[in-house]
Amino acid sequence: MKILSDIAALVTGMWITWKHIFRRPVTIQYPEEKRTPYPRYRARIVLTRDPDGGERCVACQLCSGACPVDCITMQSAEDKDGRRYAEWFRINFSRCIFCGFCAEACPTLAIQMTPDFEICKRDIMDLVYEKEDLLIDGCGKSPDYNYYRHAGIGVTQPRGSGAEEKPPVDVRGLLP
């Protein structure tokens, strides 16, 4: 009998919702109760430094290229020692959707996401973060990584003395 099974289905549904009335609510009353996000939580973006204290960001513009909402803009420039760095670096957090693509794209592990999700501001212009607002004094995740040691060109160290590098070829040497 189809009608009986239909009624049974209705009653089952009603019974399930009835049971849920007496369950404990899962709601967390946010401003009073706060929970600690996981370390990999994707909230406020920071720029980290390498173990030597230099800026990790090389302004390669991969993050701005990966950003689906175009909230990252920057200008790269050359430092006196030949290091590529961000002359200015701007994240517009009023546009950011915290997707994490920028952190995923970052080849130098400079851009990282933190669990700090409370970044509301009264004035929307305060949500435009410049480099000095973003840069932190630490390595964040992967504390040992220094991009220029692995880049394969000599910028922070003499040529040929980075990790996995042979000393420079002597072109004028006669030996094969």
């Binding site: 209705l10 549904g13 919702t17 009835w18 009335i21 007496f22 404990r24 609510p25 709601t27």
Partner: protein
């Protein structure tokens, strides 16, 4: 029509009481609905305004009153303003005929706890509930919006269809009570509630009133998934509030009528009659909320199919059977 000033005072008092109770109850029904739905969904519901969120209806009221009263371009001005009232007023008026307690004796007068005990009470209910369609239809049409128009066309068709089965499901009640007068119907159930004799009619009536007050699973006129908010899409402020509160008044009134027709009205052991009546009405209100928390919305063709091809024939068969039964019993 009434000579005695005390009678007039009592009448006015009853009207005022009914108004006050119904409006307050409707407001708190909104609150109760949000709470119960929240519990069903393992949430807490409104809990910020006042203790346990009890002042939420007040806050909502202030919000609705202070919102911009907006009228879309191209809307039909007078009908647009009139429609919310046309939706809410018939619902309140129906309560005039509902007996909500046993007759009292006060100042030497026998007081019917009922605003007006018409001899065609049940027909008045039918008349007013058929007129309530205008609020929905005109509101949606006057908004000059395609969503609203679609909502109101759906509402029109749905309300006409389910009114039929609702009316037919009440015929056996009249046959049993042998009167259209609601106090007679209640008194006829002093011994045994009509739900015992007429479980099928009760089910049909229950389903039909759910459709009449446009509740889930029959909320197609305002199906927010497809029509934004259906016939009241373009309404804001207190005009929207009237539509909104009208729906909850409808729940109370229709709950009261279902109580009157099938659950013996104010009859019940031990407790005072008015308490019995309120308990039964609130149980109906809870049932509506519970159903809303459980069932999904029907598709439009399913709704029409169900109304015309199942409910109406069933109600007719029920009348036939009841008639034969009454004839055979003598």
């Amino acid at each position: 029509m009434i000579y005695d000033p005390i009678d007039i005072a009592l009448l006015l008092g009853k009207i005022a009481l009914v108004f006050f109770v119904i409006l307050t109850l409707a407001a708190y029904l909104v609150f109760a609905e949000r709470k119960v739905l929240a519990w069903i969904q393992d949430r807490k519901g409104p809990n910020r305004v006042g203790p346990f969120g009890l002042l939420q209806p007040l806050a909502d009221l202030i919000k609705l009153l202070t919102k911009e009263d907006f009228r879309p371009i191209g809307a039909d001005k007078w009908l647009f303003y009139l429609a919310p009232a046309m939706a809410a007023i018939p619902a309140i008026m129906i309560f005039a005929i509902v007996p909500f307690g046993a007759p009292l004796t006060l100042f030497g007068h026998t007081v019917q706890l009922q605003v007006s005990d018409l001899n065609v009470g049940l027909l008045l209910f039918m008349a007013l509930s058929s007129v309530a369609v205008y609020g929905v239809a005109l509101g949606g049409w006057a908004s000059n919006s395609k969503y609203a128009l679609l909502g109101s066309i759906r509402g029109l068709a749905q309300l006409i269809s389910y009114e039929l089965s609702m009316g037919l499901s009440l015929v056996p009640v009249v046959m049993l009570a042998r009167s259209f007068r609601l106090s007679d119907i209640v008194n006829a159930q002093a011994g045994c509630w009509f739900i015992v004799y007429q479980p099928l009619a009760f089910m049909i009536f229950l389903i039909s009133i759910a459709a009449e007050c446009k509740r889930i699973p029959f909320d197609l006129p305002e199906a927010e998934g497809e029509l934004v908010a259906g016939f009241h899409t373009e309404y804001s402020g207190m005009r929207f509030g009237l539509f909104f509160v009208g729906e909850y008044i409808n729940i109370i009134v229709l709950g009261g009528l279902a109580t009157t027709f099938f659950l013996g009205g104010w009859h019940g052991p031990f407790l005072p009659p008015a308490v019995w009546f309120s308990a039964k009405v609130l149980a109906f209100a809870f049932l509506f909320i519970w159903v809303r928390g459980t069932l999904p919305r029907l598709r439009y063709d399913q709704l029409m199919h169900f109304g015309w091809k199942i409910l109406t024939p069933l109600a007719l068969v029920n009348i036939l059977v009841t008639g034969w039964w009454l004839v055979l019993r003598g």
